[in-house]
């Protein structure tokens, strides 16, 4: 899922403080799982903004709402009236949702309440870790199911580098060395010989480097 983290409150306030009306708009799927951008978080953030507005003596009408997903048209039906009547929208969606709202309402300012941080999993309640960078050309079949692109700080395809120590990355003792994990997995699978296969130069044109990506299903 997509993981996001709320921006510092002061940064959010600075973006929105000059509006007379603001809709704080949650997205109740991915970023709700990480307790940052769901409809509940939208309600809390709206309350905090109302308090700040009062403190600062700013006259601002703040409402809150939300939908299940800000990245698909059909979900917007229930919120259409609210959004059309908004002077500005503070979206708690990931960057995709923020842009989707901006595209739908050409003349309405839309601000991001979150920093979209990564594609990751829920390791345990309240703990999320990056697992994918959507490079567009998955190598997991060659690396024992551990992604070196997202989990190695140097995205080394033939690792580990010389900085791997006691299973940890050279940049932090809190980061597992992805290639230690790859080697552990290959060993568990009885495929350690595969380690010596050299991963070829990667085609990064399928990654961000190739420009914005899209794909279209035939017959829809």
């Amino acid at each position: 899922m997509i993981v996001g983290e709320q921006k510092p409150f002061d940064e959010v306030w600075e973006m929105v403080k000059n509006h007379k009306q603001l809709t704080v708009f949650g997205c109740n799927t991915c970023v709700a799982v990480c307790h940052q951008g769901g409809n509940k978080e939208a309600e809390i953030l709206a309350s905090l903004l109302r308090m700040r507005a009062t403190q600062e003596g700013v006259d601002m009408d703040i409402v809150n709402g939300g939908i299940e997903r800000q990245c698909e048209h059909p979900f917007f039906e229930s919120a259409q009236e609210m959004l059309e009547g908004s002077e500005a929208v503070l979206s708690l969606a990931c960057g995709i949702g923020v842009q989707f709202v901006a595209e739908k309402y050409m003349s309405t300012p839309v601000y991001p309440a979150l920093n979209t941080t990564f594609l990751g999993d829920v390791q345990e309640d309240g703990f999320f870790t990056e697992k994918c960078q959507a490079c567009g050309d998955c190598v997991l079949g060659l690396t024992g199911g551990i992604c070196p692109v997202s989990r190695c700080c140097k995205r080394v395809l033939n690792g580990p580098c010389g900085g791997s120590t006691n299973g940890k990355c050279e940049i932090s003792k809190d980061i597992d060395c992805a290639w230690q994990l790859v080697v552990n997995r290959l060993e568990a699978l009885g495929k350690l010989d595969d380690y010596e296969k050299i991963a070829p130069v990667k085609d990064w044109s399928k990654d961000r480097a190739g420009g914005p990506r899209s794909f279209k299903l035939e017959g829809f």
């Binding site: 995205r155 395809l157 580990p160 580098c161 900085g163 230690q180 350690l192 050299i198 130069v201």
Partner: protein, 310 residues
Amino acid sequence: MDIKTNSKLEKIMKSGHMGVSSECGPPRSSDPEGIIKKGHLIKDHVDCINITDNQTSVTRLCSLAACIHLKNEGLEPVLQMVVRDRNRIALQSDILGAASFGINNILCLSGDHQSFGDHPNSQNVFDLDSMQLIQTVRHMRDEGKFLGGDEIKLPPNMFVGAAANPFADPFKIRVPRLAKKVAAGAEFIQTQCVYNLDKFELWMEGIVERGLHEKVFIMPGITPMRSVGMAKYMARAVPGMDVPKELIDRLSGVPKEKQAEEGITIAVEAIQRLKEVTGVSGFHIMAIEWEEKVPEIVERGGLYPRPKID
């Protein structure tokens, strides 16, 4: 053995002599005098001089320019090239540029992560990894082609090296990893600083067992300790460094003003012992900001005079 390039290091090691390389770091300024002076200080005692490429991710005068300065002085530089800062277009371009100045040696590296350096907020590139950079230089040299497939009219003529750290984890893949670098096309290997001689010898045994020492020249890295403080720092803070407790104790047992001398002696003893290890073809002496000590280490290590090669 076939001589493939004009590299002095290649010629020396392929003639059966021990090779000796050293290393100089370029300045954090546009003044080349320091690096030229360092080069002259050691030129008679080493076969070639590595020029580091923004080591520890701290911005410095570029490796290629520093290599050209040494080349202009008649010295033999080794261009260190990290894949952290440049994509395949820039890497290949710099390889051609270096070759155009007659630089005959290259060392292919990943590079320290930028978080260690003076621009921790910078982007990193890592378009290729160090293994793929080795392949790239060999491809350019031997096939006369760019990675993209186009022909290179006058291919670069370089002796291709790589680094190895016998002390990084996991240890069980350290020999396979070297095998991989050899398969990728590495012709010489300069290792991480060797302090744990027993572990290094264990690694070498694995290499000899697989016959890899017959395919690649292995040059253990030797860095003299200047003080017990440096030894403790390297043990604690430098990633992938193995400094045994006995070495720290030995330096601690010596009065402060004698520790540097003891550090040199430890380095010399390491050379003397490792010279006898099957598969060791030379030494890479990295006296960090202490280049003036390289001649003494080379002489006392029994590696002087250096062989003369045309």
